[in-house]
Amino acid sequence: AQSVTQPDIHITVSEGASLELRCNYSYGATPYLFWYVQSPGQGLQLLLKYFSGDTLVQGIKGFEAEFKRSQSSFNLRKPSVHWSDAAEYFCAVAPGGSGTYKYIFGTGTRLKVLA
């Protein structure tokens, strides 16, 4: 069965420090991969997505993610975190190819930023 694992439930970093949020997936083929950010009580904002091609993907707000097929990972990175980045981050997976299918979300990583 398809699954998404975000091993870190909480992460705390200091403002200005670098950030890496981990995401591993279990799926037979290359899936479509997404990162979303959610502030408390708010909706889901798409940070970036990977469908195919270049494995390093640039997103909004200075975020990037790298797809590593050999590790079944799609980790999110940011070189310098801002206090406004404090939020919950969700990795999501969908089957690749034509047609549209359900997204499977990870359990999320809550990011806290220290001033």
Partner: protein, 114 residues
């Protein structure tokens, strides 16, 4: 830029009552979805809908739930007799057109069952 809209933003209801959550997908999209997020938990798939019928549903989507596309623009989720555990944020999403492999999410409806 087109977006998915949902109404109401917050719905409070008594246990046992019926609720209808409404969504207006992006106009040229053909695939529609509902997801649920219980407070503090991950987002979970409920149901997908295409060509006026359910294409996939999760085990959460039991007989208390139904979906409908009553006209050319709305997509609704009905919960027939709400339970306390139905309290959650419900997200509608749509895909299709030139972005068939990406789902666009609405802002969500927070359902509170008392």
């Amino acid at each position: 830029e087109p977006e998915v809209t949902q109404t109401p933003s917050h719905q409070v209801t008594q246990m046992g009552q019926e609720v209808i959550l409404r969504c207006v997908p992006i106009s040229n999209h053909l695939y529609f979805y509902w997801y649920r997020q219980i407070l503090g938990q991950k987002v979970e798939f409920l149901v997908s809908f295409y060509n006026n019928e359910i294409s996939e549903k999760s085990e959460i989507f039991d007989d208390q739930f139904s979906v409908e596309r009553p006209d050319g623009s709305n997509f609704t989720l009905k919960i027939r007799s709400t339970k306390l555990e139905d309290s959650a944020m419900y997200f509608c999403a749509s895909s299709g057109g030139r972005s068939y492999n990406e789902q666009f999410f609405g802002p969500g409806t927070r359902l509170t069952v008392l």
